[in-house]
């Protein structure tokens, strides 16, 4: 099984700890992980802005880096969803996996050595949840499940809670966060507030972009609550 780590561009530049945790976690589980060094971006920022026609160079670069792998695993539901839906290569579309999806569905992880004695608010990012179906959705009449929660159940000490309106969007939305600044921020403030009502120490989710947005709001409010990507919890000794 040849596994490559896909590190979304902004994670590479601003949240290296998320990529490090993903890498270490996979290695702990006995996976030999390749990290193609010339990877950049999945192309989503352009495509969601209406410029899917300009992602050719980006797509080609992605293929060059990731063509030979059975599994391409990344810590971002949103980027993975974009690749799954829009990358021109079928092989790539079929090989990309969001990290939680990979742990639950491919590796079928049943135990972890992680320990995180804190109360956290679980944020279900829309693209992971509704796009990749990482968990059940409140709009649908379906049996409740969550791949993220099932992984957190393997972590010692952690207590996770959902905010009211369990799967409402945080308002990041890619370039939406600046082109529709007022709505984006208001959505983020509301989301943060409903997490804080639960008396949590961390907001945890599977998409660093949502977390970055909520972190920006938390910091502006002077809050002590931090954000963490779920892999940072799953990899926490």
């Amino acid at each position: 099984m040849r596994v490559a780590l896909f590190v979304p561009c902004y994670v590479d530049q601003f949240y290296p700890q998320v990529a490090i945790a993903t890498l270490e976690l996979l290695e702990k589980l006995g996976i030999e992980v390749h990290v193609p060094s010339n990877q950049t971006c999945c192309g989503q920022p352009m495509a969601n802005s209406g410029f899917a026609s300009s992602t050719e160079g980006c797509d080609t670069n992605f293929s060059k880096n990731f063509d030979g792998f059975d599994y391409i695993v990344g810590p971002s539901g949103s980027c993975i969803l974009h690749l799954k839906e829009h990358h021109p290569s079928e092989k790539i579309r079929k090989s990309v996996f969001e990290i939680c999806e990979f742990l639950v569905d491919v590796l079928k992880v049943k135990s972890l050595s992680a320990n995180f004695p804190h109360k956290i608010g679980l944020h279900q990012s829309c693209h992971g949840q509704r796009g990749l179906h990482l968990s059940s959705m409140t709009e649908l009449n379906e049996k409740p499940f969550s791949k993220l929660a099932s992984l957190l159940d393997l972590v010692k000490g952690v207590e996770y809670v959902y905010p009211e309106r369990a799967d409402e969007c945080c308002g990041f939305g890619g370039t939406f966060c600046v082109t529709e600044e007022a709505v984006s921020v208001r959505m983020g403030q509301d989301r943060v507030e409903s997490h804080l009502k639960n008396g949590i120490e961390f907001i945890v989710g599977g998409d660093t972009s949502c977390l970055m947005h909520m972190e920006g709001i938390l910091k502006r409010q002077g809050s002590k609550v931090q954000v963490k990507h779920i892999v940072e919890i799953l990899n926490h000794a």
């Binding site: 949240y15 290296p16 495509a47 300009s54 160079g57 509704r130 709009e139 969007c169 529709e180 910091k219």
Partner: protein, 452 residues
Amino acid sequence: MLNHAEASEKFIADAERTTWHDETLWFVRSKRDKVSKLLPEWEALREQASSIKDHTLANLGQYLEEFEAKAQKNGIIVHWAKDAQEHNEIVHSIISKHGGKALVKSKSMLTEECHLNEFLTKKGVEVVDTDLGERIVQFRNEVPSHIVLPAIHLKKEDVGETFHEFLGTPKGNKDPQFLTEAARQHLRGYFLGANVAITGVNFAVAETGEFVVCTNEGNADMGAHLAKVHIACMGIEKMIPKRKDLGVFLRLLARSATGQLITTYSSHFAKPREGQEMHIVLVDNGRTRQLARDEFRNSLKCIRCAACFNTCPVYRRSGGHSYHQPVAGPIGSILAPNFDKSANVDLPFASTLCGSCSNVCPVKINIHEQLWFWRQDLMKEGLAPIGKSLSMKGMAFVFSNPTIFRMAGYMGRLVMRFAPFIVNNSFNPWFKQREMPDAPKESFQSWYKNRK
């Protein structure tokens, strides 16, 4: 005209009202959740409704002709209108023939789409919207902000003031029951006096030539039953093949819209009563153009329940008027570019693509995917502001070249660490109400290189 982002900013400036608007609509969505989960067959019902509509749209011409023939046999006069202008002229010609000076209207978003009120008012006909919410916004010279709850942007205090101004209710009175009674008395006269009544149509049944109007207030019935002439206006996509199909749609419509099991009135109009004249106007107004577009065809499945409005986190916080279209919300954002691409270029971008709209849609329209497709279509048409095209080109270039990407990232982080004022200022919309992320010394890739 303000674009969606600008209008939203104004709406949100009243934080308290935004909270109230958001919570009120969320309450409606919660009611919808509750009743939809009481039906084990809910998802199957949605699937069936979707298939019936897909089938109907694929055979629309045939069903429309079948409907026309049956309706005519029933004694209904059938008209065809290719656009809003033709629709308005047809309606006006019927009114003129009967010497109508005032007419009562209920339950028609199509007439909003065609700007019928404006057209008839100019011709000297008084149009009275009889549904309470519609009447309130009509007094205020506004348009509905929601297709099911037209005055949802207003609080009872606002209604009290409007009624004080237009109906002479005591100043400061905001008692809903009192105000509703005042509207009732006011409308009663119009109902009795009008010789023409206009209604919308929820479903038109090809098999029988009848049409069905779903309401809670019963004004459509009151209007149609009292007036000598009943004109029903409908978009051609309202067609369903058989009466038994209603069993699927009527169960979905009210549950999705308000969490009711069924609308208070689901009235079937099959033929004129004795001495009455019944007209139906079948309106295209861009629908066949949409029908011909593979990516957007199934937006025509919409049954106007507004579940996508109530669930949309953007709509709930920006209000219906921010969409500057008769039909707001997610569905409005995929319908509007069909009418005018350039005037509505902002609407498909008024979304985070969270996908909740598609999940609540009772006829399974892939709304959020169509928002994405419209974005591509509109940008290809060259409707992007020049700054945006340039920044997209720049981004595409950087991401195609790993060396440049690394360099740009390095420089960017350097700036953020040592000269944060370059990004932390009022020119950066992110920074206005949010802190920028901390810029780490090292990217992941450079950490990884040194790790070995």
